[in-house]
Symmetry: C2
Subunit: 441 residues, 2 copies
């Protein structure tokens, strides 16, 4: 099977984008892919960026056909810690029907599935049923710093009706999974300043406000005892879950047991009135990502630290506006802080939540493609994280993205012993062909 051979070849490039000593490997992987696509009859070119090259390839675009942009990335995470790998990180090894190698699931296995699907169609039919634009980048694992500027500079060349990406997860083996929503994000860091110097907590304790205590009190003002966010106006504009979503998600099995097992938490916790999947996928949160102040070492030191900090990120859902959420949070925190401390608030990055209608014509095409590929067993889900490139496609190209992932929960993306089932490579090849066919219809 040449798809498997291609994947093994692609995996042997240690294309670690974050490590400058792998820069030649990243380029070699891009060049191999370009030659592969050219050899299939596509016009392909590498575009230089300040970082790693972006590969664009197209069939001949004909008027009157849908234009589909297929995105993937050929860079991978670092393989460390190397001693936890059961076989060498960059030597693909087959065990139990799975290919073990860094990048096998994220994203080379899914990318090569699409490439192989296209190759088969081209070999069989001489053309594809749609106008296809392939966009493979080499910087996804370092935050795609050059992707949005590239989209903006090549807006016309990359114009499309829809984007397709296989870089997300499946809810389980053999279940075609369509991710139609992602949460947005808004970040903020708060410093709580008190005395101008660290104070002896015996000599001064009781007379002045303790910044660590005040930071904790501000954090605790963000939620009620059950986990609802208490910032006034925070839930304004939050779109209700649809009945079909609640019912579709509840049919996915026991989410509580799965999340308890994945996280190892003593018990679940969160906003009442919603299942854990609903809370993770469709409800906004306020999370403390870091808190610190005062003595951090072993034992005790009787100090009142002059400052403390906490870092917040809000996960957002349609139709919350990230900047407005940061406004509301800042107003709330400043109102709660007593005059005995001074707050310094720094805003971080933001991103809109993403939601497409899986019952729209494009969404239905994706559903049909998944049904054909997986024998009718499909799941419609949202995910709790944020994928900035999806927002970039929406912002610049005005196109929705079909997220049709092929990674299983135990494929170990980003971790040692990353793997990808050969069955998913085969399913991905079928999915590519079904998807382009359905999108053409």
């Amino acid at each position: 099977m040449s798809a498997l051979e291609d994947l093994l070849t692609c995996l042997r490039f240690p294309s670690v984008s974050t490590d400058s000593k792998h820069r030649p490997d990243v380029r070699a992987c891009a060049e191999w892919l370009m030659n592969k696509l050219s050899g299939m009859g596509l016009t392909a070119a590498l575009h230089e960026t300040p970082g790693h090259p972006i590969l664009v390839a197209k069939n001949r675009h004909l008027p009157g056909r849908r234009t589909v942009l297929l995105y993937g990335h050929y860079d991978v995470q670092p393989a460390e810690p190397l001693n936890e790998w059961k076989s060498p990180a960059f030597e693909p090894t087959l065990r139990g029907g799975r290919i073990f190698c860094r990048g096998s699931t994220d994203n080379k296995g899914q990318l090569i599935a699409h490439v192989s699907g296209i190759a088969e169609t081209l070999a069989r039919e001489g053309d594809l049923p749609v106008n296809l634009t392939i966009l493979f980048e080499g910087e996804e694992e370092i935050g795609s710093p050059n992707l949005k500027p590239f989209l903006e500079a090549h807006r016309d060349e990359l114009a499309c009706d829809v984007v397709a990406i296989s870089d997300t997860g499946m809810v389980g083996e053999g279940v075609g999974t369509f991710t139609y929503g992602l949460r947005g994000i808004a970040c903020m860091e708060v410093k709580v300043h008190g005395p101008s110097i660290d104070l002896h907590s015996g000599i001064f304790g009781g007379a002045v406000a303790n910044p660590a205590t005040m930071a904790a009190r501000l954090v605790s003002s963000l939620h009620d005892d059950e986990g609802r966010v208490l910032i006034p106006g925070f839930y304004d504009g939050v779109r209700d879950l649809q009945d079909w979503e609640r019912s579709a998600w509840s049919s996915l099995g026991d989410g509580d047991a799965e999340t308890l097992s994945l996280t190892g938490s003593p018990a679940l916790f969160g906003e009442p009135g919603y299942t854990e999947r609903e809370r993770r996928w469709a409800r906004p949160t306020a999370e403390v990502n870091g808190i610190g102040g005062g003595y951090q070492g072993e034992g005790s030191k009787t100090v009142i630290a002059r400052e403390a900090f906490f870092k917040l990120s809000f996960r957002l859902v349609p139709d919350q506006d990230p900047e407005r959420v940061l406004d509301l949070a800042e107003t709330h925190l400043r109102a709660k802080a007593p005059p005995s401390v001074r707050l310094e608030i720094k805003r971080g990055h933001t991103g809109m939540a993403y939601l497409m209608d899986p019952h729209s014509p494009l969404g239905q095409a994706a559903q049909r493609a998944l049904q054909e590929t997986f024998g009718g067993n499909i799941a419609l889900i949202r995910e709790g994280g944020s994928i900035p490139i999806v927002q970039a496609f929406k912002d610049v190209l005005k196109a929705d993205t079909l997220l049709l992932g092929l990674a299983l929960p135990d494929c170990q993306a980003h971790a040692p012993n990353e793997n990808f089932p050969v069955a998913n490579l085969e399913a991905g090849i079928r999915l590519n062909q079904a998807l382009l066919r359905e999108l053409a219809a």
Copy 2:
């Protein structure tokens, strides 16, 4: 003046107890002091400990006289940062009537004042009016690890009616200050455990409890908005302030302005119904000395950390029992923690609050000595910190301690440019003689 010469000599020993390279200097200082006391006609001996030696000296003890134990320490804090000193840290330099040198105020200036007072009395009268036991240690700045075992091993030899120490502060220039109370302490560290691994706050945020958030909520449960401690039973047994104390302390000037200026805090904060001095000296507190969890670096990282911690110290007043306060705090925190996190609570060191009656016969003797020395201008105060050796004297020798300090608020103990006024050296010599005379009466 030989007292000044003796002090300059004593100061030139860099007797930094925490630094092993200064071990010979610490011993040299102890030996110099021993020879000094022997030369004055006292029997003096160095006692070895696992750390630095303890110096004990006595006059001839006669039946029917009060026995006074005079405590001091000849070790000093490190001098770093050296570049902030205006003259060399271990070369005593006179400027504006003050002696600048590491150890000048803490504690060599105050110690040499007593030694010189004793020398003058012995030279003039051939004996002292009391049975005197001098106990000078070389480990005060590292927590006196060998003092209590030494007291226990030499209980009979060190038996006394009262202890006198000059190692605290004066409320202002020329105001003889009698510290008759100290707060106690009870320390505790709390770890809040949640998931078994750090989690992605996008993927899992909303489904499980965030240990950093829960740590903050537990800390915020310790106080009401105005600073009262909310642990049930915490204030049980707290002795009310006496009317004379409130009135004596309010006559000491504007404590609010002084504390604002010393701390640089934007505003004072604390338990309503008490002045800032009353809160620092006679009311118990719950302070966070450290809090931490999650990402501590620059920028943001969207993580739910698997654990967070906070370190607490309670400052206690008579008649709170430190172990009972830790019991109450633990019960309170465990009741407040939801089942979605697990608490690990580790108890730290404890110490009883100390309070003697300044109007007792011994206290009145100390007051008279201060009045004679400072021309009637004296202050009766408590302090907010804890001095463990005072508790050790109480526990082992069953003796109260007269804390008659000679350090001014701007003498920079523990800081660069530590200094001691020559006038305070002279006052200390008079104080020693007046004190022994009054205690003899």
